[in-house]
Amino acid sequence: MSASTATTVAQQSSRVIIMTQKWITGAGVGVVFLALCWWFPLFRIVKLETLRERSKAETFDAESVAAELWQQELPNALSRAASLSQVSKVRAEDPAVVKERYGRRLGISRAYFLLVRGEGTIISVGHSTLNVSLEDAAAGDVELKLGPVLGNAVRDSVGFVEASQLPNAQQFNDLGAALNRQVETSVISPLKEQAKEGRRITFVGCAQINNEQRDWNPLRLVPIQVSVSD
């Protein structure tokens, strides 16, 4: 055998050894992966019919969830509402403390939500708002919403449900809209009928503060409980 033939044979056998090593390593990794999948399955197979029946039972009905939460959780939320007189006093000393002490924030958002209570006299009734002069004159006037309720002030002030408790943001948004409808039917409709200038009103309301200068003059609230008397 010549030297060049010997070299070629040596090169070929070394290539075969390398390929064999590669195959053994690949097969080893494959076996370990399959063993892992055997002990810890990647998925379970279920019939579509079974799945559909199950998902029918689990369909998210935002309106009924909102109605149920309104019934069960509202008393707790009302008891947490801060007095507007107190909040105004604190704000006069240091506006930043209001955000820390009474505000509710979602994630890293700069906006915050307030849940407050107050009482005063109705000074004007408009198409979509009514203005109240508070009993504590230092607290100024507030504006209560009478028109369609938009945004997330109610959902995020009362804090019945956190975003992480629902599977996706869509359901969280649907719940916010359903709570707004709940407020419109159970609070705002009766209020519209009773609201007249000069009558006394006691209320609990929600506010979203995006801008410290603009949103406090006057404070705009979505009422979630009201009581009107002469």
Binding site: L42, F43, R44, I45, K47, A169
Partner: protein, 319 residues
């Protein structure tokens, strides 16, 4: 000797930054803040490790941010809802582990797509991965319907928020990944091929290296690591945001460049990238601690990247 000194430049820069910020801010030098910085850089470290291999081979991968979002969305979607197969009349209910494997596999597939586009269709890496950036983002929107998926459970959340031996789990994962690929790049034949291809692709071809295959594998690895980074982001936020990872490719490229890896390929290391990630993380954190405006933070970051590239270019001319 000069090359060895150049390798110490990022470390020196990091030491100076940490020293200055420790003096300037008391909060900066607390151990809690140290853990926080490490947690913050863990996602970028995963992305940048893959990016280092791509850049070392003479390429670039602009799709990592979108691939991150796609992997996170697929994992979250499979955890939350079964995958229906109407033709077979069945649905697959994924376990958390199964969803994790599927998410990383999505990253690997997008990486393979990049690899094939660059090697088989001879597209420039910049163009090929720019296309994948858009494709992956579009697929993410299609899969999620544009909405975030939340409520992924504590088992999956542990990956992003848990701690082990007093260090956040994402730190262990990302450092493990970086060390593994440091070994791969320094101690394996594959690693040497990557350097050889990036240093002189023509010479690598003439030497008989399977250049196209190695390059394709590099993109597959980068895709897989982007997928892993997507899982870390999703687990930490307990939500898959279809807009996640936007602009992360730039942070990743910045970390690679600041770490001393040459954009023309063949020069650099994963260790340098770890330092690059730390420099960006410390810079971000320190500027926040010093209450510097976010707009100025962007300016500072840009200046640091330019200086790093200028030093790299100056070194290249001297060589």
């Amino acid at each position: 000797m000069r090359e060895r000194l150049a390798a110490f430049q990022p470390l020196l820069a990091l030491i100076i930054m940490v020293a200055v910020l420790s003096v300037a801010s008391e909060t900066f030098r607390t151990s809690e803040n140290g853990a926080n910085v490490l947690r913050q850089i863990s996602v970028n470290l995963c992305l940048s490790t893959g990016m280092t291999l791509v850049v070392l081979s003479g390429g670039i991968d602009l799709s990592v941010g979108s691939v991150l979002a796609l992997s996170g969305a697929i994992t979250a979607g499979l955890i939350r809802r079964p995958l229906e197969v109407p033709a077979a009349g069945v649905a697959l209910e994924f376990t958390v582990w199964g969803a994790v494997v599927a998410g990383i596999s999505a990253g690997l597939l997008m990486g393979l797509f990049n690899g094939l586009a660059v090697t088989r269709f001879a597209l420039p890496p910049f163009v090929a991965t720019l296309g994948t950036l858009s494709i992956a983002r579009g697929l993410t929107y299609l899969w999620t319907g544009g909405a975030s998926t939340t409520g992924l459970g504590t088992a999956f959340g542990w990956m992003g928020t848990g701690t082990w031996l007093r260090l956040p789990v994402p730190v262990w994962i990302s450092v493990g990944v970086a060390m593994l690929f440091w070994l791969v790049s320094r101690r394996t034949r594959f690693g040497r091929y990557v350097y050889a291809i990036g240093g002189n692709e023509r010479a690598a071809v003439l030497s008989g290296l399977r250049v196209q295959r190695v390059k394709a594998w590099v993109y597959v690895i980068a895709g897989g690591l982007a997928g892993l980074a997507g899982l870390l982001v999703t687990a930490r936020a307990d939500a898959a945001d279809p807009n996640a990872g936007t602009g992360y490719e730039l942070d990743s490229i910045a970390a690679v460049v600041i770490g001393g890896t040459s954009l023309s390929g063949g020069k650099g290391s994963v260790v340098g990238t770890i330092l690059g990630c730390l420099i960006i993380g410390v810079l971000n954190n320190g500027l926040v601690m010093l209450q510097v405006s976010p707009f100025w933070q962007q300016v500072f970051k840009g200046v640091v990247i330019l200086v790093a590239v200028a030093i790299d270019r100056a070194g290249g001319k001297q060589d």
